[in-house]
Every structure is written in C-alpha cells, then in structure tokens.
C-alpha cells in the first residue's frame, strides 16, 4: 500500500513526460492525487491503533502522524491538480507546450518529495526530501517567467536553501551527539526512533546547539518570522494550484520535521528549550502577519501572510506540546490545508476572470459572480477562525492547551493579534465581495467551483463533528509523546 502512495506521483511524472499536455494529462494528475489520498486513508486505518509500518528495509517508517500528513498532502493535491487545467494556457507554440509539460511533471515530483519527507525514518532523508521540494518548486514559482516571478523564484530558492542548510548542520551535530551517547560510535543514528531512544543520553550542550539550528532551519521553510521574507513573494507569484500546494501543505510538511525533532529535544533537554524558541517564533509570526494583513493591497499576498499567521498559531501549539495541543495543531493543519487551497484556487479564478488580484480592483463579486464570490466569502470566514469551520474548533483547542501548560500569556497575546487579523481579512472581504453590480456575462464553470465547495463543506463538517478523525489525531499525537 505504501508503495502505491509513494509511486503514484512518480509514475505519473514519468507518464507526463510522454503524454501531451491537455485533458488526458490533467486526468492523470488528478488520479495520482486521489491515489495518494486513498493510500493515506489506508495507512491511517493501518496505524490508528499504534502500529508502525516499515518498508524498504527500514527506510520507510509510517506511523499515525505520517498517515495524517499523507492525507493532507493527498487532499490538497487533489484540489490543486483538479484546477491545473484552468490556469494553464497551452497554445500551439512549442515553447508553451514544453512549459505546460514541465509544469505537470514538476507538480508530481513536488508531491512525491513531500510524501517522501513524511514517510521516511531517517531525519537526514527527511531533510533531503524537504530540499527536494525547494528544487521542484523553484521553476513552478517562476512559471510565468515575468520579471516578478523570476525575482520571487530566485529569492525562494536561495533563501530556502540557505535556511535549510542550517537545519542540516543541526542534524550533523545531532548525529555527532548520538555517536557519543554512551552506546558506542556504531550506535550513531539519524533515525527518528533511534534518536528518541538515545535522547536521554545525548550531550545537552551539543544537542541544544543542534536543535536550535534545526528549528531555525526548518522554520525558514515553514515561513516563521523573522525568516519569512521569501514566502509572500513566492506564494503570490506562483500559479494558483502551486500556491495552494505550497501554502496548504508544504509549510506544514516542514513543520512536521520540527514536530519530530521536538520529541527528541524534550527528552534530552526538558521541555523548556524548544518551547521558548517556538513561542518567540510563533508570536513574531503572528505579529508580522497582523501588521501586513492590515496594510495589504493584494489578495494573494493577503493569503500568504495569513499562512504565516496560521503557521505561527501551530508553532505556539507545538510549543505547548501536550497530546491535546498536538492533536489540535494537526486538526488545524488539516483545516488550514483545505481552506487555504480553496482560497488560493479561488484567487486564481478571480485572476482568470478579472485579470487582477489587487483588492481594490475586485468589486462586488457576490453580485457579479455569485458562486465564486460565495466561495471566497465562506473561505475568508473560515480563515478568520469563525464557526462553523474546523479552524474555529482547533484554535479554541490550541488556546486551551496553551493555558494548561502556563502559556496563557502567549495565548492571550495571540488571541489579540488574531482579532486584528480577522478584522483585516473581513475588511478585505467586504471590499471585494459587497457592493452593487450586474451579473457578469460569463460564469465560472461548475467544474471549477464544485471541488472548492466540497472542500469547504468538509471543513465545516470537521468543525462540527470530529469523527472520524478524532482517534487518528489522538494516535498521531500519541506518537509524539
């Protein structure tokens, strides 16, 4: 089963090298994403009671946490690939066809790299896969080949590679510490479970240095402030489906690495060190997001800063670190993945229809394009953390968990910033959605709207009933405690 999951995007990537861009290529892309989603559900069923699935001689190690991440990747990828045909203009020009092909292949490679990151046992290989996502997405960010797109993709590739180099240095130090943990140099390991077993014997000084570097390094890729400067550029310049994948799931794949390392660090150093680090990064992210959301004039950049906000919230919950906090954070990862993909894809449709994404340039969408406007309205309400969507439930649960470990002050600050951000989002929504207008002659096709509505419905249902996810999320949180 694991192989189906990992191989689906790789096989389709190879197939897309020969299949001409068009309907058939799109169908293949969607099929691959749906296979990943199905595989994720099967893995969840296999791991929900605490079993760990190994494959490829121990290279692959799947527990409930990995399964949750595979499901998120599959879901967001299904949404994103279903919209790929809408944003891709293929003309008879060979250059345009070549780029369309490159686009399809790279999206599949990107998805495969994310899957690799959450399915492998060795933290060094996790690192390799996360860096591979940067490589695959650099061209996707620059797909438009405009001056701005090129600027964004250069910044993205250099800053993320440099940031993540820090994480590799940290992993090397962790490996070094494991070689001197009293079990002899042969026990040196970067396997997550091996490191966890050795954790109480790791040298605290070296481990502190290592974990600090790892959190900052992967934190760059998560987009945590003050390491976020690449994010709004990359997420706003990329084509909509790529933005959806990057914002909706790539950020949390990088966060997944931090979640794993936190368990080792807590056993070696006590909970204080990573907690302090993540509280600082989390609050800084919320602060940056609050300021930038208020002054924002572009819809896609607004959504990008909102991603920084939500990563900040998840970082705070990770800082709290109790099983309830982690379960809530994972529910937030799922909810954010759904809603942010819907909004980026919606923004793509807006761009398609109105040829702009500036907030001032979009008017009276609810009147002029009722379906698209409705999707955006519901998405913004969800993103602002209002009921009935699951982000509301997960935010409440995360704040409660933070209070329970004495981080009430941080939760209070975060809540204040959240109100500011929600006000900014809703104000932007009002500007774009409300007002008088006549229905536009051409409508957004139902085929483009239906997946977005479905995702919003799922998000609302998850907000009302945690079933069937509750046991899986608790199993995943249990893996980390």
């Amino acid at each position: 089963m694991v192989f189906v999951v990992v191989l689906a995007p790789l096989v389709v990537a190879l197939a897309l090298l020969v299949v001409a861009p068009g309907r058939r290529a799109e169908a293949l892309s969607v099929a691959s994403s749906l296979a990943v989603l199905a595989g994720g559900i099967a893995l969840a069923a296999a791991t929900v009671h605490g079993r760990v699935v190994h494959a490829l001689g121990g290279v692959i190690r799947v527990d409930a946490l990995s399964a949750v991440m595979v499901i998120v990747i599959g879901t967001v990828a299904s949404l994103a690939t279903s919209a790929m045909g809408r944003t891709l203009v293929v003309t008879a020009d060979p250059a345009s066809r070549r780029r369309a092909r490159e686009y399809g292949v790279l999206v599949q490679v990107f998805v495969a790299a994310m899957l690799g990151a959450v399915l492998v046992a060795n933290l060094g290989v996790v690192w390799v896969m996360v860096e591979a996502t940067t490589i695959a997405t650099t061209f996707l960010v620059g797909h438009e080949r405009s001056r701005r797109a090129i600027e964004a993709s250069w910044k993205y590739a250099v800053l993320c590679s440099v940031g993540i180099a820090l994480a590799f240095l940290g992993l090397v130090l962790l490996y070094f510490a494991s070689a001197h943990a009293g079990a002899g140099p042969r026990a040196a390991t970067l396997d997550w479970s091996g490191l966890r077993a050795l954790a109480p014997h790791l040298d605290p000084k070296v481990t502190r240095l290592a974990v600090g570097l790892i959190v900052l390094g992967f934190g760059t890729k998560v987009g945590l402030a003050p390491l976020q400067s690449w994010l709004p550029d990359a997420h706003s310049q990329a084509p909509a489906p790529v933005s959806a994948l990057m914002s909706g799931v790539l950020l949390t794949v990088a966060l997944y690495a931090i979640l794993r390392v936190r368990t080792i660090a807590d056993a070696a150093l006590g909970v204080g060190f990573v907690r302090t680090l993540l509280v600082v990064l989390g609050l800084a992210s919320l602060g940056v997001a609050a300021v930038m959301v208020i002054v924002q004039r572009d819809l896609k950049r607004l959504l990008a800063y909102s991603s920084i906000e939500h990563m900040g919230l998840i970082a705070l919950a990770t800082a709290a670190g109790t099983p309830l906090a982690i379960a809530a954070a994972l529910l937030h990862v799922i909810g954010h993945g759904l809603v942010k993909s819907v909004l980026f894809l919606g923004a793509g449709e807006v761009h398609h229809a109105e040829s702009t994404t500036t907030i001032a340039g979009i008017r009276a969408l609810l009147r002029r394009r009722a379906a698209l406007g409705g999707v955006l309205a519901a998405g913004l309400v969800a993103l602002a953390g209002l009921p009935p969507f699951s982000l509301f439930a997960s935010e409440i649960a995360m704040f409660r968990a933070e209070f329970s470990v004495g981080l009430g002050w941080a939760a209070g600050l975060a809540l204040g910033l959240l109100v500011v951000i929600a006000a900014g989002l809703l104000r932007a929504g009002r500007q774009m959605l409300l007002g008088p207008g006549e229905p536009a002659p051409e409508r957004t096709p139902r085929r483009a709207i239906a997946p977005l509505v479905a995702a919003l419905v799922v998000c609302a249902v998850l907000g009302l009933v945690a079933w069937p996810l509750a046991s899986l999320l608790h199993a995943a949180a249990g893996v980390l405690s």
Binding site: V59, N122, G124, V125, W127, V128, M129, E131, A132, T134, I135, T138, F139, G142, R145, R147, R148, I150, E151, A152, S153, W154, K155, A157, V158, S161, V162, A165, F168, L169, L171, V172, L173, Y175, F176, A177, A179, H180, A188, L190, D203, K205, V206, L209, P232, D233, S236, Q237, M292, V295, Q296, R301
Partner: protein
C-alpha cells in the same frame, strides 16, 4: 590517526576555511568559481584521509562523490556562466573588502566559542578542528549577504554547504551514505536550477544585479 593522514587532514581543513575567506577578498567572478573548485578538492582530501585512517569504505565513496560534484561538475557549470558574462566582476559589495575580512576574523572567533562544546564531548584532534567548519559556514553567509551578483550568491551558498560537509567529515566521519547521496544530489540540482534561472534572468532582464530586482514588496 597516522601521522601523514593526520597532517593532511589538518592542512586541508585549514585550507577549506582559508579559501572561504579568500572568496570574500576576490571580486572577479571567475576567480571565485576557481576558489570553489580548490575548496572542493581540499574537502575531498579531508574525507579521503579520514576514510583511510578509519578504513571506512562509505566515506571513501563520499570522497569520490565530493571530487566529482564539488570539485568537478558544480564549478564547471558555474564557470560557464562566469565566462559568458563580459563584466564578470562583483560591482560593489555592500560591505567593502577590508571590512568584510575583519568581520570574517570576528566570525572565526565566534566559531571557536560556539564550537567549544563539540571538543568537550569528543576530545580529539578531529573535533578540535570542527570550528574550522563552523567558521567556513559563517564565511559563506557573509559572502552571500554582502554580494549583489547572483553568481556570487550561489558561490556563498556552496561555501556554506562545504563548511557543513567539513563538519560532517571531522565530527562523525560523514553522515550515513543514503543521506550523503541524497544531499549531494540536492546540491547538484540546486546548482542546475539556479543556473537555469540565471539564464532566464539574463535572457529576460539582461545583466541585472540582484538589488535591482525590487518589484516585490508590500
């Protein structure tokens, strides 16, 4: 550690840092790429000598990989870009050369302080050299943030990577081979991607310095 191999490791490890600092000094882009090639060779020498003293086959493979990727393919790829650029000089770094050399000296000091726990945990000759790797990493960062040319930034990124690699050879005789292979492939692909991006940049925008790319802001 036998005498000769130990001496080679000492010398080569020092060379990696010195070449990194020399990168701060040179503004000719072709010279910068040349330095990168020599740094790759020095790095491979550290790996090969360590492999010989510890009879470590995996590390021997890694040493070959380092020669091929870091002293061979990568500098060759970047060298072509540098040669095709008529004004292949760093226009004016954000910090002038003497100041950046002084800063580099301060960074070396910082590396020694930060690296102290490493030596404390594993008293021995190799771990004592580890601050050289840290200092190389910091030098790479300095190169990256003070230069305006895209190519210099790529060199900075690779100097950082070489510094990290030096740490792995000195501290743990390399990381597991699967990680080493994946990491080398990543480095190679990053260079390929950035080089292609450089090509697009030049084709579309001409020879701009990076600080002229300022369209994206809030």
């Amino acid at each position: 550690m036998t005498g000769l191999a130990g001496a080679v490791i000492d010398l080569a490890a020092v060379a990696v840092l010195v070449i990194g600092v020399a990168g701060l000094w040179r503004r000719d882009l072709r010279a910068l790429v040349g330095l990168l090639r020599i740094q790759g060779i020095a790095l491979a020498l550290v790996a090969a000598s360590t492999a010989a003293t510890q009879h470590d086959v995996g590390l021997g493979v890694t040493a070959v990989l380092v020669v091929v990727v870091k002293a061979g393919v990568v500098p060759t790829l970047l060298g072509r870009v540098a040669r095709s650029d008529p004004g292949a000089r760093e226009s004016a770094p954000f910090i002038n050369v003497p100041s950046s050399l002084v800063l580099a000296a301060a960074l070396v000091g910082l590396a020694v302080v930060v690296g102290a726990p490493l030596h404390a945990l594993a008293p021995g000759r190799a771990a004592a050299l580890a601050p050289l790797g840290l200092a190389t990493v910091l030098t790479g960062y300095l190169l990256l943030v003070t230069r305006r040319r895209a190519l210099s930034q790529v060199v900075g990124l690779l100097v950082i990577d070489n510094g990290v690699a030096l740490m792995t050879f000195l501290l743990t005789a390399g990381v597991p081979l699967i990680v080493e292979l994946g990491g080398s492939l990543d480095v190679l692909l990053v260079v390929v991607v950035l080089r292609a991006l450089l090509g697009t940049m030049r084709a579309r925008l001409g020879n701009v310095a990076l600080d002229e790319l300022r369209e994206l802001h809030d």
